[in-house]
């Protein structure tokens, strides 16, 4: 394998990881599912690309601005929809993601369907590694803090969390805003790697792909999301020589994982825990419990046994 080729995939892993980390907080820790994160990515990508191409801003402030705007939009979306029950929130985010893309398609200032070209090539291995390192550390620190535990408490049992004095709406909002900022920065990195963006790149399929990664890596595990990103980004590349059978296998793999190992690779466990076996067993048990609890919340009536 040539390094140049691997480098390309690693850069891709980098910006995908930014989005997945954010989604991991929202889905894995706060228990909210989003099918609209491609919309936040699009916002980050477009804002940062407009800043660098049209206003001559340099890469870093443009990237951060993209993240901030995505976060603000996330706050707006959250204000409207966070009171919705699980699957309805999910549907609302789906609508949001599609709406963002449709607006971009019709907006001539950003090139409509033809998109923005000539974006400076700023994203390289170094910049994605720095972004991901900061992103991972910040997320790790958050989930281990008091606020992080409050967020997890909402996932475990929203009613009980509310009872024990946690402002559930506020913490759900925080999780959504942070995940939107991550997605926005991921989008900015993507734009400055591709040097070209068009609305077509931010279809709903993208949101689904990222959610699949989070679940594959295991809900409630930051390291799981990282491992999941690497495996699921490299896998399709490994299968490249299969041409059009590639996605057949990918689809099949998704189903098999869901059916055989629903808690994902590292559900509820961090990589560090593996070296502390008793802790790992305890955490694994906890993870199973959590999945049962989540089920109790969202689709309790299905319980059959």
């Amino acid at each position: 394998m040539s390094w140049y080729y691997i480098e390309g995939i690693l850069i891709q892993c980098g910006y995908v990881l930014m989005v997945v980390l954010g989604l991991s907080l929202l889905t894995g820790f706060a228990g909210l599912f989003s099918f609209g994160h491609a919309g936040f990515m699009a916002i980050g990508a477009y804002v940062s690309a407009i800043c660098t191409t049209k206003f001559g801003l340099s890469f870093l402030p443009a990237l951060l601005l993209g993240g901030v705007v995505a976060g603000v939009v996330g706050a707006g979306l959250g204000k409207l929809t966070l009171n919705l029950k699980g699957d309805y929130f999910c549907i609302a985010t789906l609508g949001f993601g599609e709406a963002v893309r449709l607006i971009l398609e019709n907006w001539e200032y950003v090139g409509g369907a033809r998109g923005i070209s000539g974006i400076p090539w700023e994203t390289n291995l170094k910049s994605v590694i720095i972004a991901c390192a900061i992103g991972t550390l910040a997320l790790m620190a958050l989930v281990r803090s008091r606020h992080g535990r409050s967020i997890i408490a909402i996932r475990e049992d929203e009613l009980a969390a509310e009872m024990s004095g946690i402002n559930t709406f506020r913490y759900k909002m925080i999780a959504l805003i942070i995940s939107a900022v991550y997605a926005g920065i991921g989008g900015g990195l993507l734009a400055h790697y591709m040097t070209y963006i068009q609305p077509k790149m931010f279809q709903m399929v993208k949101s689904t792909e990222y959610t699949i990664i989070v679940i594959f890596g295991g809900l409630g595990s930051v390291t799981g999301s990282i491992i999941g990103t690497f495996i699921l980004t490299f896998l399709p590349e490994m299968l490249r020589s299969l041409d059009n059978w590639r996605l057949v296998i990918y689809g099949l793999a998704v189903i098999v994982i869901m059916v055989i190992r629903p808690r994902g690779l590292m559900g509820g466990v961090e990589l560090g825990d593996i070296f502390r076996l008793p802790a790992r067993r305890r955490a694994a048990k906890l993870a199973e419990e959590r999945i049962k609890n989540m089920n109790g919340e969202s689709a309790g009536e299905e319980a059959q046994r």
Binding site: T53, G115, I116, G118, K200, M201, N244
Partner: protein, 388 residues
């Protein structure tokens, strides 16, 4: 494993190693990337099959410069990031000297920076966006320099849109035109913009402009508005699937305007899907259908793969013959020499004489072949270029 087997294995390895130097010269490696899965798979499969067939033929005839040709093809799923990955892999790992495809402008623009970094030329088949070969400054809205390693074999959106508008106004004597375009598609938006510009400049009027989206199949709501505006000509800059469905629904509603399309139209499917509705329609084509090489290539392709040959296949053919000529001219498979040679050679392709310009890497003076749909086939109407 016992020692006898070990010796046997060693002998086998030695044999293999000693066989390497006696083997013929290294093959010339070329690549094709494009959509083999996803929405535009139908176009990508057409291109890759055509190039596979041509490579086989070249090899059977002794190869290029006496060397065999080895082809690598990779799927991009119609996704720009996949296209970048495929390009990195095909250049760095498979060590190709030139790339053909991918079959969409967005992907071609995205891979430009990789091509420049690795100094490998790419000839795109159907990427019609001007930004594919030219750098564009978003701040000033102007084209700046030519991209050194991006070439194309087809004419561009502005050129084609202008041809369609000119033909409609000058030859069809249309004064009222309706445009029905795909708002989610860059090709369609490009054609629309330039058709509108030229047609209005010439003195015509765009009476109604309606939009749809790529995955749409139902068009009657917009067509009802078009019917009410009563245009002389209805311009449909889209691919054949939508063109056929729109034509059918337009005729059902009673629209009798002349239908006019671009190079996304030509396909056998057009006849299967909407033969009656499309009678008398015109479109801008790249090739002259009376040309005997056209029919010969088509029969050969269709007997081999049992899928209909679309325009993408023809463009892939021309991209391939241009590349072969450039490799021969360069005298080696050095990718920079090939990039230089690409603007030097003049090739006779199925879509006309191809000579790529040094200034913008577009084909020079390629005229549109206005083609009319009559009965079960196409009828060549006229060559129409700009400046007429």
């Amino acid at each position: 494993m016992n020692w006898k087997r070990l010796i046997g294995l060693l002998c086998a390895i030695m044999l293999l190693l000693s066989a390497v130097p006696v083997m013929a010269e290294e093959p010339i490696r070329i690549g094709w990337i494009g959509s083999l899965t996803g929405d535009s798979a139908v176009f990508g499969v057409n291109e890759s099959s055509m190039i596979k067939m041509l490579v086989e033929e070249t090899n059977a005839a002794g190869g290029i410069l006496g060397r065999q040709v080895e082809l690598f093809t990779y799927d991009t799923k119609g996704d720009a990031n996949e296209a970048i990955n495929a390009t990195r892999r095909i250049i760095a790992q498979d060590k190709v000297c030139a790339i053909l495809g991918p079959n969409a402008s967005g992907q071609c623009i995205a891979i430009a920076s990789v091509l420049e970094q690795m100094k490998v030329p790419d000839i795109s088949t159907v990427a019609t966006n001007p930004k594919v070969t030219l750098n564009y400054d978003e701040a000033t809205g102007k084209f700046t320099t030519v991209k050194p390693y991006n070439f194309r074999i087809c004419f561009t959106d502005p050129y084609q849109g202008a041809i369609a508008a000119g033909f409609a106004y000058d030859e069809l004597n249309a004064t009222k035109a309706a445009i029905f375009y795909d708002v989610s598609d860059d090709y369609s938006s490009g054609l629309t913009q330039f058709f509108e510009e030229i047609f209005t400049n010439k003195g015509g009027e765009i009476v109604v402009k309606e939009a749809f989206k790529s995955e749409d199949v139902e068009f009657k709501a917009q067509l009802t508005n078009i019917l009410a505006a009563n245009p002389d000509v209805l311009f449909l800059p889209c691919y054949y699937k939508q063109a056929a469905l729109i034509a059918k629904q337009a005729r059902e509603l009673g629209i009798d305007a002349v239908l006019l399309g671009g190079d996304g139209w030509p396909s056998d499917q057009l006849f299967v899907m909407a033969k009656e509705a499309l009678q008398g329609a015109y479109f801008v084509n790249h090739l002259d259908v009376n040309d005997p090489t056209f029919a010969e290539l088509k029969t050969k392709f269709e007997t081999k793969f049992n899928i209909p040959l679309d325009l993408n296949g023809f463009m892939a053919h021309d991209a391939y013959v241009t590349l072969v000529a450039a490799i021969e001219k360069a005298g080696s498979d050095d990718s920079e020499a090939i990039a230089d040679a690409l603007t030097e050679v003049t090739v006779q392709g199925v879509t006309g004489t191809i000579k790529l310009s040094k200034e913008d890497h577009n084909p020079i003076g390629k005229e549109g072949s206005i083609t009319k749909i009559v009965g079960d086939g196409y009828e060549f109407v006229m060559k129409y270029g700009l400046g007429q």
